[in-house]
């Protein structure tokens, strides 16, 4: 993409509001929403399981299981359905890399 095209894309984005908007949701943004229950940086101080330290496979298998109702849960079946498989993979990578 040329600088000029980029500039006009950015201009178009800027026109929508005060701050320009990226079009894809970054893994860190997806993940911080989860912290309200699972604790800051995925480390839970209470009864809700931590997410940090889970392997990519464990996270992704659990989320996909919740999403398809193959794994029973209280609230996660309802929440997991709000994410695409690609977003689940991105989240799995994010949490596997969080220390």
């Amino acid at each position: 993409m040329s600088l000029r095209t980029l500039a006009s894309c950015t201009l178009a984005l800027m026109a929508l509001g005060g701050i320009a908007q990226a079009d894809e949701t970054a893994p860190a943004v997806l993940a911080t929403a989860c912290f309200a229950c699972h604790g800051m940086d995925g480390k839970s101080p209470g009864q809700i399981p931590s997410l940090t330290g889970k392997t990519k496979e464990a996270f992704s298998t659990a989320m996909k299981g919740f999403k398809t109702d193959q794994i029973p849960a209280t609230v996660m079946n309802r929440l997991a359905k709000g994410y695409t498989d690609a977003e689940i993979e991105a989240l799995a990578t994010f949490y596997a890399n969080l220390k």
């Binding site: 005060g18 701050i19 894809e24 912290f35 604790g39 609230v75 309802r78 929440l79």
Partner: protein, 427 residues
């Protein structure tokens, strides 16, 4: 506020955007310079301050009170099994994190000069961007107010819709109520803070009365025809509390048009009801501090729902109960999630980068008794029309036929959520 002034600026901006695109995701918490003032130290404000600080922003948090009592879990105090100390938090953790916490009342906001005046401080506080998380105030006068219910009336008919002394007053009144007495709650029409809150409160008051004063009655006079988690609440009420709780919908005579604190009476379109304890949840609007900056349009503040930047005052972000946030309810959880989105947008703007595309969650847990939890959950994105939508085919309420074990687990998770979010907010 970033403004495009020239083609050179646009090119500079485009360059920054490209650079942002190449950064690995882990760099989302990298440093950003700038001064941000946050007004309000509740779910939205405390969360915003903490996230901005950890992204390297200089943050000043201005809060009128030295401590914050949460509305979530305040109904456990009325239920007789929670303590005010359990739901009251101070700002020491924010100070330790390096946030400049000012305890004081905001008396002026100069949006042109970008500075805030606090009562007792002669020097205004400058900002590059501001976050306003004012919560709610009550309509005691004027259009939309409930006749007979003013500030003085709250001492006889507590609202307890801001947690603190009002919660304690309502708890004392419940304790003093005779067995066989009537507890009345008046509930406003939407929108108001915490849609399922009144019904959780009715549940936990019923828990207290069943334990201590089993001949008593609860009368809910509602300004609506339906309510949040209605089937779950009503099923649980029958199961746990028999006929103790009577709910009267708007059309069935639930609409309260006037109250009289001297006779402890609520007047509806069809009649009048006298209570031993009357809990009036009044009609609401955004916290009055927003008026100092002209942020409200009507009762609430319109924002760009992708960044929470005000539609009326550029450079100011309004989050939480005070803003209009599409499909998201007015809840502490929503305010916390909106704080993260606003913080990320602010940091992006300070770096001349595009704001990240938001993703938000809301989960509202309600306790029907200490071991019986139900929830409503939703995942949110910004739709094509720019408003916050719920992701289709996701979210919803707890299962209607869940086992007692599942209800108990949800009650545990409600307590777990509280621990997590309090640590996130207050450290």
């Amino acid at each position: 506020m970033h403004k495009i002034n020239s083609r050179r600026d646009v090119l500079k901006l485009a360059g920054a955007a490209t650079l942002a695109g190449m950064l690995p995701s882990g760099k989302a918490f990298a440093q950003a310079a700038g001064n941000v003032v946050v007004i309000g130290g509740g779910f939205g404000g405390a969360s915003a301050a903490r996230y901005l600080k950890r992204m390297g922003v200089n943050v000043t948090l201005i809060e009128a009170n030295a401590t914050f009592s949460t509305c979530p879990f305040s109904n456990t105090v009325l239920g007789g099994f929670g303590k005010m100390a359990d739901i009251t938090h101070n700002y020491d953790g924010l100070k330790r994190a390096g946030i400049n916490v000012i305890t004081g009342t905001v008396t002026g906001i100069d949006v042109a000069q970008k500075r805030v005046t606090v009562q007792g401080n002669t020097t205004p506080i400058p900002y590059d961007r501001m976050v306003v998380s004012s919560g709610i105030d009550f309509k005691f006068t004027g259009a939309g107010a409930l006749a007979g219910y003013d500030e003085a009336a709250t001492e006889k008919m507590p609202h307890a819709w801001k947690a603190g002394p009002q919660t304690e007053l309502l708890a004392r009144q419940l304790t003093a109520m005779p067995d066989g007495g009537t507890f009345i709650m008046t509930i406003p029409n939407n929108p108001y803070r915490c849609p399922p809150g009144p019904y959780e409160r009715a549940s936990l008051v019923a828990h207290y009365l069943k334990t201590n004063k089993p001949r008593s009655k609860i009368l809910l006079l509602d300004g609506k025809e339906t309510f949040s988690k209605q089937a779950l609440f009503q099923g649980a009420w029958r199961e746990l509390y028999g006929n103790m709780i009577e709910w009267v919908a708007f059309g069935q005579g639930g609409n309260v048009s006037r109250v009289d604190p001297n006779t402890m009476t609520a007047f509806t379109d069809f009649g009048q009801h006298k209570g031993d304890v009357v809990n009036v949840i009044p009609p609401q609007r955004s916290g009055r501090v927003v008026d100092l900056a002209g942020l409200a349009t009507g009762d609430w503040c319109n924002v760009n729902q992708a960044t929470f930047e005000s539609r009326t005052v550029p450079g100011v972000h309004v989050i939480g109960d005070a803003c209009v946030a599409g499909a998201m309810p007015k809840s502490g959880f929503s305010a916390n999630n909106q704080a993260k989105v606003a913080a990320a947008a602010i940091v992006a703007s300070l770096r001349n980068q595009p704001a990240p595309s938001p993703s938000l969650i809301n989960v509202c847990y309600s306790l029907v008794n200490p071991d019986y939890g139900i929830s409503v959950a939703s995942v949110h994105r910004v739709g094509e029309d720019g408003t916050i939508i719920s992701v289709p085919n996701s979210g919803g309420t707890s299962a209607a036929n869940a086992s007692a074990d599942v209800r108990k687990l949800e009650a545990e998770y409600a307590r777990g959520w509280y621990k997590s979010i309090m640590q996130e907010m207050f450290g």
